[in-house]
C-alpha cells in the first residue's frame, strides 16, 4: 500500500503537535503501521520528508524500538510475557503452546498472514501473570489452553474481548490508537481491579508505609 494523501495529512498533524517536530516520530511510525501492518521504506521516507531529517535517522529509530516491525505483522499481534514472574507462573508454557498451535517462533508471522508471535517483556501486569496480549490488549491469567482458545476464536473470525473489557479489533486498529490515543476508547474496560489493589489494601489496614528517602543520598 502507499501512504495516502490523507495519511500524510495526519502525519503532518502529529508533527505539528510538538515544539520540536521530530519528537513526533514515535506516534508517526505507529500511524505508518496503522495503514500498513509494518514500517515500510515508503513510510520511513515520508516521515523523514515531513520532519526534515534523513531516512537513515528514521530507520535508526524504527529498528531500535521493538514495537516497530520491518516486515508485515499480519492481522493480529500475539505477545506472551516471558519475563521472570509470568515465565515462572506458566508464561513459557503458554508461549510454547501458541508457538505449536501457530507453527511459528519469536517475531515471525504465520503463513496465512493472520498472526504474529512474540516473546514480550514485563507488561506491568504481573498481578495477573501469566499475561498474554492480543494487539496489545491484555489477556490476564491465561493458561496454555485458554491462550490457544483465544487464537482459535480469532482464527474463526469470532468476536473476542480482552479480559479487561475492550473488544479486540486488529493490529492496525491498535496502531492507530497508539498514534492518536484520544479516540474515545480510553474508558473501555477496567484499568484497575481489586486484585491489583490487594497489596495497597493490606498496607492500609496495617498502617504500613514506605520509609522516606534519606536526604542527600542521591
Amino acid at each position: 500500500m502507499t501512504i495516502s494523501a490523507e495519511t500524510r495529512d495526519q502525519l503532518r498533524e502529529l508533527a505539528a503537535r510538538y515544539p520540536k517536530s521530530r519528537s513526533a516520530l514515535l506516534p508517526m511510525l505507529h500511524l505508518v503501521q496503522s495503514v500498513d501492518d509494518e514500517v515500510t521504506s515508503e513510510g520511513i521516507n515520508v516521515c523523514a520528508e515531513i520532519l526534515g531529517i534523513t531516512s537513515a535517522e528514521v530507520t535508526a529509530v524504527a529498528t531500535f524500538y521493538t514495537m516497530y516491525k520491518r516486515k508485515p505483522v499480519g492481522k493480529h499481534h500475539i505477545g506472551v510475557c516471558t519475563n521472570t514472574l509470568c515465565g515462572l507462573l506458566g508464561g513459557d508454557a503458554v508461549y510454547s503452546a501458541l508457538s505449536e498451535r501457530l507453527g511459528i517462533g519469536h517475531n515471525e508471522p504465520s503463513a496465512d498472514g493472520q498472526f504474529w508471535l512474540e516473546h514480550i517483556e514485563c507488561q506491568a501486569a504481573c498481578t495477573h501473570a501469566p499475561v498474554m496480549t492480543v494487539d496489545w490488549e491484555y489477556m490476564d491469567d491465561v493458561t496454555p489452553a485458554s491462550a490457544v482458545a483465544v487464537v482459535d476464536r480469532l482464527a474463526r473470525g469470532e468476536q473476542v474481548e480482552s479480559t479487561r473489557g475492550p473488544v479486540i479489533r486488529d493490529f492496525q486498529a491498535t496502531e492507530h490508537t497508539l498514534a492518536f490515543p484520544l479516540d474515545g476508547l480510553v474508558n473501555d474496560g477496567v484499568a484497575v481491579d481489586a486484585k491489583m489493589l490487594v497489596g495497597l489494601r493490606l498496607a492500609n489496614e496495617r498502617g504500613m508505609s514506605a520509609a522516606s528517602i534519606p536526604a542527600g543520598d542521591a
Partner: protein, 791 residues
C-alpha cells in the same frame, strides 16, 4: 575551547584553572577539560576507540575506563571532565582500571572476526594495537561468533564489514556533526546493533572517506583502496591537495611508483583532520592519458620529437612572432605561475597574460588587482570560525570549497549566522542553518545595494566576513557591489576561487596589469623594482590583454604566438571563441601533462609534471602558502617552470631561477606590495535577462572534471544530476518527471526536482554527466533557457 567574541567585550578568554592528579602527577589545566586530554598532556595514553578530539564525547566503547578516587565505579576518561583536586588512576597505576579495560577489550573481541591478515586496517589498527597493550593475552571465548554477510555497500565507495565494527559511533557522529549528512546511523539494538543506511538512500556524502580514516577498526573501507596494500609496505609523503583552493594537507601513500591512497593530514589551521572525497580519491588521473614526450606538428600532424629539437622548434616559433599571449589554466603551483608571469614579461616582452581561462570579466580583473592580489591575510579558517556573520555571494561552499564548508558548518554550530545571496537555498546552505537572501541570477548587485538594514547592521560587527566566489566574474556589477558593501560595512571581503592554483597565480603576477606581490604594472616604481629583480632594463608598461579580449585578439589574428599551461577548453563559457583563438594564433606552445583538445591544436607540446612529480606551493583562498614536497623523488618529468627556463635558454634569454628553491627565493625577496593599488572597478549592475526560466549553475564537487577521471566509485557518489525548480515552476510545467532544457546550442534531458529555488529560475549542474551546459546548451549562469516536460 571557544573564544567568544562579543562586540566590544574583552577578547581575552577568562579560563578557570584546576589542578588534577593523574597517576600521581599533578597538572594544572582549564576546568572542563576531559580526563583523557589531561592524561595526554602528561604523556599518559589511555586506550580508546570512540574518543575523537573533533567529535562530541559519547563514551560508547568503554575502552578508556579509569579509576577516580571517591567514585565507586570506573569512569570513561573520554567523557569525564576534570574537577579541582580530582585523583585519577589509569591502567598504569590502578588494577581496577586495568581490569576494567581488559574486560572491555574482551567484550569487544567476542564477536570480532580477527581477520587482520586480510583486513585493510591491519598494521595501523587501533584495535589490533590496543588488544596487544590493553587486552588479555588469551581469549576465553570459545562460542560461535556472530557473523554478517560481508561486506555491504553503504555507498558505491564505502564498504562496511559489520562484524568488525566496535560500535564506537565515530562514523555516525562524523556524518551528523561534521559533515551534516546523517545518512549513516547505528541501526537495530543490542547484539544486533550495526551501522547502516536507509534502504534506498546511500551515504553519498562529499566527505564520506573521512569515516574510513577515523574508523578505529577495519569495518569501513573504500572500494578504491580495499585489498590494495598493507600499510607497512607504503611510503608516506605529506602533500597538499591540488583540487581546490581549500588547500588541504594530505598524506600521499605510494608503493612501487604508484599512488595507492591519499589521506587527510592533520592541519589544525586549515583542514583540521578532514578532507573531501575528491581530494581523497581523485588521483588516478595522474597516471592516465599522459603526454610522455615532446611533440611537434609537422605537415599538420603531431609527431614525437627530442627535447632539443622541440625546444629549438618552439624557440624559433616564439621568436618569429611579433605578438604573444600566455594562458595559465588555474591549476599551476605558485612557482610555475610565477615562471609564466616572468617568461611573459621577460622572454616574450608582453603583458598579455591571464590565469583565468574560464568565465571572467574585466571588472573581475580590476577587483582582483585592487582588492585581492598580494593583500595581507585577513580572513582565515580560524577567523571564519569566530565570525559573528558570514555572507556568501556567487559561492556554494560545499561544492566549490568543501573545507570552507566544513569550517562554516563548525562556525554555524557555534552560533555564526550565514547568509547566501542567490537564487537557491541549497542543501549545503541548510546544513549551515543559513538564510537565503533571494536574488535572480544577475540581480545580485541590486539586491546587495538594497540589503536589509538588519543584515547591514550585522555585517558591521567586528569579525564579519563576506565571501565571494569566482562566479562573481559572471555577474555584471557584482564585484563592484561587493566591494561597496564591504567598504560601507567594514566587513572583511575574501575571494574564494575554485581551483588550487588561482590565488597563487594572482599573487605571482600571472594576470595582465599585475606583477608579483600585487604590484600594479602601471606603477613606475613597482615595474622598476621587478625589472631589477629580473635583471632586465624594463618591463612592458601598458596593461596587456586578458580573458576574452586576449582570446578575441587571437581569433582576429592579432596574436602571433600563444603559450598555454594546463588549459582546458571546456572551462570556457564561449568554447567556440577559445577554439577559434587557438586555431587563428600563428603558433601555439602547450605545456600539458595530459592529451586534450589543447594538445590537438598546439604546434609544440611539452610534457610537464603532475603534483606527485614536482615540489611546489599552492596558495589557498586565505592567502596561506601550502608548500608540498615531491612524492616520487626519482620522477623524470619536469615542472612548467623548468621547461620555461629551458625554452628561454633556447631563445637566448636569461629568465632567472627555474627550480623551486630559487623561485621561492626570488618571490620572497620581492615581497608584497605596500604602495598604491590599482583602481577599484566601478561597473553598474547589468540587466537581468528576460525569459521565463533563467539558469543558475555551478560545478558540482564530483562531476566531469578531468582530474576525476578513472575513479568510478567516486563518480558513483556524485549528487543527483537534475533540473531543480520551485514547486510553482514545476506546477506550471505540469510536474513532469523529467524535463528537456534547451539553449542556443542544444538541449539536455534531466530529471526534475523541486527545491528551494526562486520562481522562474532553474538550477542545473554546470559540468556533470548528461548535463554539460557550456557545450550542450551554450548558456551560462543568468541566461534564459526554455524548459519542456520530457516524454
Amino acid at each position: 575551547m571557544t573564544i567568544t567574541s562579543d562586540a566590544g567585550s574583552d577578547l581575552t578568554p577568562q579560563v578557570e584553572m584546576v589542578t588534577v592528579v593523574v597517576d600521581g602527577v599533578a597538572i594544572e589545566i582549564p576546568k572542563g577539560t576531559l580526563v583523557i586530554r589531561a592524561a595526554e598532556l602528561l604523556g599518559i595514553e589511555i586506550p580508546r576507540f570512540c574518543d575523537h578530539p573533533l567529535l562530541e564525547p559519547v563514551a560508547a566503547c568503554r575502552m578508556c575506563l579509569v579509576d577516580i578516587e571517591g567514585v565507586p565505579k570506573p569512569q570513561p576518561a573520554c567523557a569525564q571532565v576534570v574537577s579541582e583536586g580530582m585523583q585519577v588512576r589509569t591502567q598504569l597505576t590502578s588494577p581496577v582500571a586495568r581490569d576494567a579495560q581488559e574486560g572491555v577489550m574482551e567484550f569487544l573481541l567476542l564477536n570480532h572476526p580477527l581477520d587482520c591478515p586480510v583486513c585493510d586496517k591491519g598494521g595501523e589498527c587501533p584495535l589490533q594495537n590496543q588488544a596487544m597493550t590493553a587486552g588479555r593475552p588469551e581469549s576465553r571465548f570459545d562460542e560461535v561468533k556472530r557473523t554478517f554477510p560481508k561486506p555491504i555497500n553503504v555507498s558505491a565507495q564505502i564498504l562496511l564489514d559489520r562484524e568488525r565494527c566496535v560500535s564506537c559511533a565515530r562514523c555516525t557522529r562524523f556524518a551528523e556533526q561534521i559533515a551534516g549528512d546523517p545518512m549513516l546511523e547505528l541501526l537495530e539494538r543490542g547484539a544486533n546493533q550495526q551501522v547502516g543506511t536507509a534502504v534506498d538512500q546511500p551515504f553519498d556524502s562529499y566527505f564520506s572517506g573521512n569515516t574510513v580514516q577515523i574508523c578505529p577498526v577495519g569495518a569501513l573501507t573504500s572500494a578504491a583502496y580495499r585489498f590494495r596494500s598493507r600499510p607497512f609496505d607504503l611510503v608516506s609523503v605529506p602533500t597538499t591537495c591540488e583540487h581546490c583552493a581549500s588547500g588541504c594537507s594530505l598524506r600521499t601513500d605510494h608503493r612501487r611508483g604508484t599512488v595507492t591512497r591519499r589521506l587527510a593530514w592533520d592541519e589544525p589551521a586549515v583542514n583540521e583532520e578532514w578532507n573531501c572525497d575528491k581530494g581523497r580519491f581523485a588521483f588516478t588521473y595522474q597516471e592516465q592519458g599522459r603526454v610522455t614526450t615532446p611533440l611537434i606538428r609537422e605537415d599538420g600532424q603531431l609527431r614525437v620529437a627530442s627535447w632539443p629539437e622541440a625546444l629549438d622548434f618552439a624557440a624559433r616559433g616564439l621568436s618569429a612572432a611579433s605578438s604573444h599571449g600566455v594562458l595559465v589554466g588555474g591549476r599551476s603551483t605558485v612557482e610555475d605561475s610565477y615562471a609564466y608571469a616572468r617568461f611573459a614579461r621577460v622572454a616574450l616582452k608582453t603583458d598579455n597574460i591571464d590565469f583565468r581561462v574560464r568565465d571572467s570579466s574585466d571588472e573581475e580583473a580590476q577587483f582582483l588587482r585592487s582588492a585581492v592580489a598580494g593583500t595581507a591575510v585577513r580572513t582565515t579558517y580560524e577567523t571564519l570560525e569566530q565570525a559573528p556573520v558570514v555572507l556568501l555571494i556567487a559561492f556554494e561552499p560545499e561544492d566549490e570549497s568543501p573545507i570552507v564548508f566544513l569550517r562554516l558548518r563548525k562556525a554555524a554550530r557555534g552560533g555564526t549566522r550565514v547568509y547566501a545571496v542567490g537564487p537557491v537555498a541549497t542543501r549545503g546552505l541548510a546544513k549551515l542553518s543559513g538564510t537565503l537572501i533571494p536574488a535572480k541570477p544577475g540581480a545580485e548587485p541590486a539586491v546587495l545595494a538594497e540589503l536589509a538594514e538588519q543584515v547591514r547592521a550585522e555585517l558591521q560587527a567586528p569579525g564579519a566576513v563576506i565571501m565571494v566566489g569566482e562566479r562573481i566574474a559572471g555577474i555584471q556589477g557584482g564585484a563592484t557591489a561587493v566591494l561597496q558593501l564591504a567598504q560601507a560595512t567594514g566587513a572583511a571581503l575574501t575571494w574564494v576561487p575554485r581551483r588550487a592554483g588561482e590565488r597563487g597565480a594572482l599573487d605571482a603576477g600571472a594576470l595582465a596589469g599585475l606583477l608579483p606581490g600585487g604590484r600594479p604594472l602601471t606603477e613606475d616604481s613597482a615595474r622598476a623594482a621587478v625589472a631589477a629583480a629580473w635583471g632586465v632594463d624594463s618591463l612592458p608598461a601598458t596593461v596587456g590583454l586578458a580573458g576574452a579580449e586576449l582570446l578575441a585578439a587571437a581569433r582576429d589574428g592579432a596574436i602571433g604566438a600563444l603559450i598555454t599551461g594546463g588549459v582546458e577548453l571546456g572551462d570556457l563559457a564561449d568554447q567556440s571563441l577559445g577554439r577559434a583563438g587557438l586555431e587563428a594564433a600563428g603558433f601555439v606552445v602547450a605545456l600539458e601533462n595530459h592529451h586534450s583538445a589543447i594538445t590537438e591544436l598546439a604546434d609544440v607540446v611539452f610534457p610537464v609534471a603532475v603534483v606527485t612529480e614536482k615540489a611546489g606551493t599552492f596558495m589557498n583562498w586565505e592567502g596561506r602558502p601550502r608548500p608540498f614536497a615531491q612524492t616520487f623523488k626519482d620522477a623524470l618529468v619536469m615542472s612548467d617552470a623548468v621547461v620555461l627556463g629551458m625554452l628561454a635558454k633556447a631563445m637566448n634569454i636569461a629568465v632567472g631561477a627555474s627550480d623551486v628553491a630559487g623561485i621561492r627565493q626570488e618571490l620572497g625577496a620581492l615581497g608584497a606590495w605596500t604602495g598604491p593599488r590599482a583602481e577599484r572597478p566601478n561597473v553598474p549592475a547589468g540587466p537581468v535577462a528576460e525569459g521565463a526560466h533563467l539558469v543558475a549553475t555551478w560545478r558540482a564537487l564530483i562531476d566531469n572534471g578531468v582530474m576525476q577521471e578513472g575513479e568510478p566509485y567516486l563518480a558513483a557518489t556524485a549528487h543527483l544530476v537534475a533540473a531543480t525548480v520551485s514547486a510553482t515552476t514545476a506546477g506550471a510545467l505540469g510536474n513532469p518527471e523529467s524535463v528537456t532544457v534547451t539553449g542556443p546550442l542544444g538541449s539536455v534531458t534531466v530529471p526534475l526536482e523541486i527545491g528551494a529555488v526562486i520562481d522562474g529560475v532553474v538550477c542545473l549542474p554546470l559540468n556533470s554527466p548528461g548535463c554539460v551546459l557550456y557545450r550542450d546548451l551554450g548558456v551560462r549562469s543568468g541566461q534564459a533557457v526554455t524548459i519542456k516536460g520530457a516524454l
